[in-house]
Symmetry: C2
Subunit: 267 residues, 2 copies
Amino acid sequence: MKIGLIQMDVVDDKARNLEVAEKFIRLAATQEAEVVLLPEMFNTPYGNEFFIPYAEEGEGPTLSLLKRLAKELGILLVGGSIPEADQGKIYNTSYIVDDKGEVLDKHRKAHLFDIDVKGGITFFESKTLTPGDKVTILETSIGRIGVAICYDIRFPEVFRKMALEGVSYVFIPAAFNHITGPAHWEILTRARALDNQMYLFIASPATSSVLDYKAYGHTLGVDPWGRILGELGNREGLLVLDVDPSEVRRIKEELPTMKHRRPELYD
Amino acid sequence: MKIGLIQMDVVDDKARNLEVAEKFIRLAATQEAEVVLLPEMFNTPYGNEFFIPYAEEGEGPTLSLLKRLAKELGILLVGGSIPEADQGKIYNTSYIVDDKGEVLDKHRKAHLFDIDVKGGITFFESKTLTPGDKVTILETSIGRIGVAICYDIRFPEVFRKMALEGVSYVFIPAAFNHITGPAHWEILTRARALDNQMYLFIASPATSSVLDYKAYGHTLGVDPWGRILGELGNREGLLVLDVDPSEVRRIKEELPTMKHRRPELYD
C-alpha cells in the first residue's frame, strides 16, 4: 500500500494554493498512492491575521476541490487543514474524503498552539481559533484511522486512545516551526508510533521564503517500530511511502506492550 | 545539583558486584553527586536462572550496603534493582534510601519484560518474577521523584501519572539489550522527558563480555525539553550530570502542555 505525503509551498493567494495542492494530489495518484495527506493550513498562510479572511463555511472552494479530486482519482484524501467558519467561530479543520468524494468525518484541532518560548517562538492560535471537542477516529477503505493536527501530537493521551480503539494509521497535518521542529518533530512522531505500534504520517508546508511563519517542513512517515520510513527536507516535494499492513500485527505479537498495560495502576 | 549515574560491569559473583557498586557510589560522592542511581539487577547477572539464587529477603547484604553508604556519604541513593524475595515470590525491586540511611520507599517493576522478537531477543521475566502493584512516587530531599524499572518505560501512562502528581525527576534502573536498545532506548527516554517536562535518568549495566545477556549500556540523562544531557557508551563508567531545578518551571511556562490537556476528550 502506498501513502502520499504532500509538502507544498503555501503563499498568500488561495487560488494559487489550491492549484499547487491539486498538482501534488494528481502526482501522488500517478505514483499509485491510495491515501494522500496534505499539510496543515494548506490553503492559507499560517497566521492569525489570515485565518478569518481565508476561512470557508460549509462547502467552499477548498472542500469542493478535495471532494472532486478524491472521487476522480479514487483515493482516500486526508485534506490537510483549513480555517473552517461555523456559526461565527473559526476552527482549524481537516476534512477526510473517501474515493466516492464523500466527507467521512472532519477533525477540528483539539489543542490550540499557545506558546511563548523566550527568544524563540510566540504564537497564540486561541486569539482567532476555537478548539474541536473530540479525538477523531474513523473507518476507511484502509481500516480504522486517526486524524490529529499539529499541536495535538504533544498529547500522548490522544494516540493512546486511538490505539486502544484499534487504529493502525494516524494522519497528521502539521506546521511546526524552526524552534520546536528541530527539537521535537521527529521524536514526537517516532514515540507516538512506537508507543502505540501504529504508522504515523505527518505532513508540513515547505519552509516559506516569503511568509513570516516559517514552517519546519520535514514531512515524515514512521512505522510501528518507530523507524523512519522517509523524510523530506525543507523544500516543496512529495513523499510516497510503501506501507506493509501486516507489520502492525507482527510487532504487536513480538512486543505485546498493549497487552502488558496495567490500567488498574494508572487509569 | 549533581546527579551521578553508574554504569557498572555486572558479573556472576555477588560480592564482587557489591564491591564495584561501592567503588562507584564513593566516586560519585567524591564528584559531589547529591543523588546516585545504580542500574537494574546490579547485584546479579540478568537471567531467570540467577534471580532466585541471588534474591535477598528483607535486609540482606545488598540493602545493608546501600543504607550504610547513603548515610555515610549523605546522598539520596536510588539503588538500581535487585531480586527481592518476599513470601515465596521474587520481585525486581529498587530501594530508595535517604541520606540518613532510611528506606524511603521501594519500587517493584510493575510491567514484566516478556517479549519474543523473531531473530532478535526472547525473554520471559514472568517465569520467575512477580510484578509490583503501584506507580512509585515519593518525597525526597530534592523534591518529588518517580522511580520506574526498565520495561516500565514503555508505558506512557506511568510517566503521565507522575507528571500530574508533580514529579520533576524520574530515576530508571534499566537493562535494555542490543536489539531494543539501539531502536528504542534514547527515543523512549527523550519522549517521556519531553512529554511530561521532567528530568529523566536511566542507568544500565555495561555490556558484558562474559555473561549471556548483553545489556545495552548507554546510561543517559535527559532534560525537560528532551535534550540529552550526557550519555555513556557500552563500557563501565560514571556519568555525573549538572541539573538546573528551575528548568522544569521555565519550560512549563513557555510550553504549557500540561495546562493545555483536554482530559474530557480522553480520560
